[in-house]
Amino acid sequence: MPKEKAITAEMLTKRFGDFIAVNAISFEVDKGEIFGFLGANGAGKTTAMRMFCGLSLPSSGKATVAGLDIYKDNEAIKQRIGYMSQKFSLYEDLTVKENIRFYGGIYGKSDTYIKKETEILLHQLELEAQANTLVGALPLGWKQKLAFSVAIFHQPDIVFLDEPTGGVDPVTRREFWNMIYEAAAKGITVFVTTHYLDEAEYCDRVSIMVDGVIAALDTPAALKKQYHASGMDEVFQQLARGAKRQDN
């Protein structure tokens, strides 16, 4: 029943020369789930995510996103997903409104949709006063929240978030996760990588990657039980200690 799965991966592998960045990973993500994708630096999280988003061609293995094959339907998948990269990637020399309009437009949304939704979005983010401010002038926390809103502006089935809260203060981080919950409540599947282990607790299920393979995958509660740990932090420590790869 692939229809009910947002993402499936089967022996998905990415090699860069001799280096195997992602080594035959297999897992499934249910529709509407918040799926945490954890791992140390260089474990292969971003590479895996880039394959699902159609930015990187897998070396071997199979995968589907929104029921579509990532080899054949690469471009069709793009209409159905949102993506927020590690690097902030809205246009800093465009205003808040212009950025929203641009991304709405290139996903083929109508002018009336863009206009209506922009107002709602600005209201939710409390950015009405900054609508015509250049994005470059916003504080980092606001930028990240805006980037997330833009990533789901075209109402995708799945949104991929690559370390969305890096460098953001704890209060904004909490607000950010509230936005993720709201998105999930609307039925958007959330696939998120993070380094913050408290955030892992917010996920429905969590996978932990070590050296290109998935070392563990379950709900946070089950993982803690399995590893006799009091928090996700301890689980992660036990798994990642054996890692051979260092930074990137």
Partner: protein
């Protein structure tokens, strides 16, 4: 089409919000067109001449006067010894030394022949050689003058002479600026087209926005058109500005039609924009893009036929210039602006540059990948 509209809107907003791009687009052509043609003058003037006059006669003085009156030479010094003059060459005070021997006048009248000696400072070879050629012509001229003055007394039959008069077609006054201005305009257009496009796209790579674009359903050709069209328009604006400057400052307006120039420029711009795009697909940082375009521009400029004539290059170099789009446009500019050539005359160049546009853009599109 709708996607393209959003892309163009975004590009134009960004361009007009960036003061440095605007400065490049509007100030660069004006400054370059005003300074370069005035400064880069191939006519030799101000050749520093040092004369060693051992004769101090009426004739020797007349010769010196005639030379300085030509307007090409600046009499830097008159020395008594050749050694002193050589020292002037060593100190770079002299480009040319003219030595007039002892008894120059006497020999000229009595023996009907006299020698002079010219030493050339070959460090600035062109200047020295051209100066020597000028001076030779002046001395010959002077020779004829004396002969015709002395002839009536000698009883010899007058020597037959061949007089040469010149007519310079297409640029009657041999005005160097007529030659330079259209050429510089071509270089400007090339720089705007290739460099700005390359840097613009690579900047998106550097900031990371291109990755965000690559996860959207934007078609590759839409994205590329969205990048090329704004710079295509800007290129034509720069050219128009250039023609305004050419008209106002130098009084140059094309002998042929603007239509043929713009038609050619429209396709030419596509070719250089394609080149910029190609450079961007091979570079990851703005620095790389800058260096590569700088390298290409150097070759384009020096082998484009503006500063050195292509027909006097060695054959292998002439083959290289065939791969240089700049050389075709400079050709076309000169044909249309100076000769008044029509669209029909520039058709060969037109087809060649269309080929360039297809190859460069095709290569760039092929090499631009949304997925690595």
């Amino acid at each position: 089409m709708r996607t393209l509209r959003f892309l163009l809107q975004k590009e134009f907003r960004q361009i007009f919000r960036d003061p440095s791009i605007l400065r490049i687009i509007f100030m660069m052509p004006i400054i370059q067109l005003i300074i370069l043609p005035m400064a880069a003058d191939y006519e030799m003037k101000n050749i520093n001449l040092v004369v060693t006059d051992h004769d101090h006669s009426v004739y020797s003085r007349q010769l010196i006067n005639k030379i300085t009156a030509s307007g090409y030479f600046k009499l830097a010094a008159v020395n008594n010894s050749y050694q002193q003059s050589l020292r002037d060459i060593e100190a770079d005070k002299a480009d040319l030394v003219l030595e007039i021997p002892v008894a120059f006048e006497k020999k000229l009248i009595r023996e009907n022949t006299a020698g002079t000696f010219i030493a050339v400072n070959a460090i600035n070879g062109t200047k020295g050689n051209l100066g020597a050629a000028y001076i030779r012509t002046i001395i010959q001229d002077y020779n004829q003058e004396i002969r015709s003055k002395l002839l009536p007394f000698s009883g010899m039959p007058p020597q037959p002479q061949i007089a040469i008069t010149y007519a310079n077609w297409f640029n009657p006054q041999m005005n160097y600026k007529f030659f330079m201005v259209p050429g510089i305009l071509v270089l400007l257009l090339t720089m705007v087209g290739a460099n700005l496009t390359a840097i613009n796209i690579v900047r998106e790579k550097e900031i990371g926005t291109i990755e965000q674009i690559n996860v959207t359903p934007i078609r590759k050709h839409h994205f590329i058109l969205g990048k090329l069209i704004p710079f295509w328009i800007l290129g034509l604006i720069v050219m128009t500005l250039g023609f305004v400057v050419a008209r106002v400052v130098y009084g140059i307006s094309p002998a042929g039609s603007f239509l043929s120039i713009y038609a050619f420029a429209a396709v030419y711009l596509l070719a250089v924009l394609g080149l910029g795009l190609l450079v961007s697909t091979y570079s990851n940082t703005q620095q790389q893009a800058m260096l590569v375009s700088f390298f290409i521009m150097m070759i384009f400029v020096l082998m484009g036929g503006l500063y050195t004539s292509i027909s006097s290059m060695p054959e292998w170099a002439q083959w290289i210039t065939k791969l240089n789009p700049v050389s075709y446009f400079i050709d076309v500019m000169r044909m249309v602006v100076l000769k008044g050539s029509s669209m029909k005359d520039i058709l060969p160049q037109f087809f060649t540059i269309t080929g360039f546009a297809f190859v460069l853009n095709g290569w760039a599109v092929w090499n631009y990948r949304k997925r690595a």
